[in-house]
Symmetry: C2
Subunit: 308 residues, 2 copies
């Protein structure tokens, strides 16, 4: 069983959906990645920063899940990163109402000594230079480096992004971002171009339309589980990434075939994440529930045609 | 091996895509369904109507593929149904430039004697009363009735549509149409509502995002094959339906499990259809190519996770 280091945000979110709204609740990419990975019992360390206003009970909850919070710096006189958003009726689009970077503005991630030998590193959606600085701190080249990014960094730090892309194995990105990064409309061609930038594996997230994994001429597709109700999509993408990384860290098998399983686990966990506000569902999730839903994914996708 | 009766249009299409444009070429839902079903060697009869301007060589081509054209009425002094459309750069949306119904306006399908005992009936996208009149002509209730429809009929003939829905087994419909017919945004809930209207099986086509099959609480999902280039999407939905019906007619097994295979074959054949203009690719398609691509579909979707 390998160690997983996840660098990302630990945040307060205020969310409005057609089903209701919340005050400030726990959010952040590092949080969702950590909670997803905790399903696999891997030793997971989250590197992030919060302000003095951050509730100790959240850190306690994470520690209770086996997440190492040593790397979450607490800036006593600072305020925690805050994001507020409102989802439209179709749940596929949202408006950001408020973004207060706060302590995130001067975030310099420090990797705890005990995680400098992590086999798997998940670089959450941060400035490419910040992502690179995490890799610089590792004792040796991790077995697998996964990077998440977004159009914002392509707009303001494309060169830095290209530099860090040369140092990673897997990029997770959504379809629109893949098109922007590559300049190609077809996702097959987009993945080819992105391969050439460095990552041997390209994961393209299509939200309710599932996710594609590309590795040269190999492709794999995992659907999102069709749900009667999507309550709150916040954190689904990070939960997907956390499930992906957690499963790979647990199995220490970084082959394309095993990445298929990791993608399915990512999609599996993400399907829970959206069932309640914020981290609620992920905090309560049990291994049995995940295994039962894995059966659903098999029924949803597996078939048995004889070749003729 | 069962017989398949397919009622639909046989048409002239003029198509413009970012890759080029065509003069009047062979098109129509009945044509694409017939060509797809011909891959399975089932006895397929197409019921349709064309004008005196329709080229005998197209009918000869169909007969050469084993498609029975007895049911294609030729109105000597009429003109063949003509559709012209232009696809946008993303290939997911198109503008209809010209629709000339011509002989289709007074189309009264007559089922040939030799197909009144067909096990599988595919009712192409026509007026619901026209679809019902085909069922009225069958010797007995077919083993499987599949119906395609569109928002146009929901707008102008909703009551007639509801009547014919009570008499069918499978509806194929796209996601927007499923939402319109059911008044539900979630496709899971939409399928539930549509079940209550009659069809035990609901196939929701999502274009490049694949297709979902619902039967009560059972779900199956088939992706579209990610392609580097989509040359011309015309006929892909009908080819999908033809593959679905053709496989079921061939195997005469109408279980949910076997419908999974049928959906995969539909998606498989549709992935070829879009590679060239009009019917070109489907006319040239070989069994070996289909089997090779079936392997691709397996690699794309099949995984092997041990339950824990």
């Amino acid at each position: 069983m390998g160690k997983l280091l996840a660098v990302g945000t630990v945040a307060y979110d205020a969310i409005e959906t057609p089903f209701g709204k919340t005050d400030k609740i726990l959010g952040g990419s590092g949080t969702f990645v950590g909670l997803a990975a905790s399903q696999f019992g891997v030793q997971t360390g989250v590197v992030s920063v919060v302000g003095g206003d951050f509730s100790q009970s959240y850190l306690d909850m994470m520690e209770g899940k086996g997440i190492d919070t040593t790397g979450i710096e607490i800036v006593k006189d600072g305020k925690t990163f805050f994001w507020s958003g409102k989802y439209h009726n179709d749940m596929n689009s949202r408006d950001t109402l408020i973004t207060e970077l706060n302590v995130l503005e001067t975030f310099n991630p420090v990797v705890p000594e005990s995680f400098k030998d992590a086999e798997v590193v998940m670089l959450g959606n941060l400035h490419p230079l910040t992502q690179a600085s995490v890799l610089d701190q590792m004792n040796e080249r991790p077995k697998l480096v996964v990077l998440d990014t977004m159009n914002f960094w392509m707009d303001i730090a494309l060169n830095d992004l290209h530099e860090v892309l040369k140092r990673i194995d897997v990029i997770t990105i959504n379809d629109e971002e893949a098109r922007q990064l590559s300049g190609e409309y077809s996702l097959v061609n987009a993945a080819k171009k992105i391969h050439e930038m460095g990552p041997k594996y390209v994961v393209i997230k299509k939200g309710e339309h599932g996710a594609l994994l590309f590795n040269d001429d190999n492709m794999f597709y995992a659907p999102a589980l069709p749900l009667a109700e999507v309550f709150d999509p916040t954190g689904a993408g990070d939960t997907f990434a956390g499930g992906f990384c957690g499963y790979l860290a647990k199995t220490e098998n970084y082959s394309f075939e095993n990445m298929k399983n990791a993608i399915i686990y990512g999609s599996n966990l993400a399907s829970f994440c959206v069932e309640k506000f914020g981290t609620q569902r992920m905090e309560a999730l049990t291994k049995d529930e995940v295994q039962t839903r894995l059966q659903l994914f098999k029924q949803l996708t597996q078939f048995d045609i004889e070749l003729q």
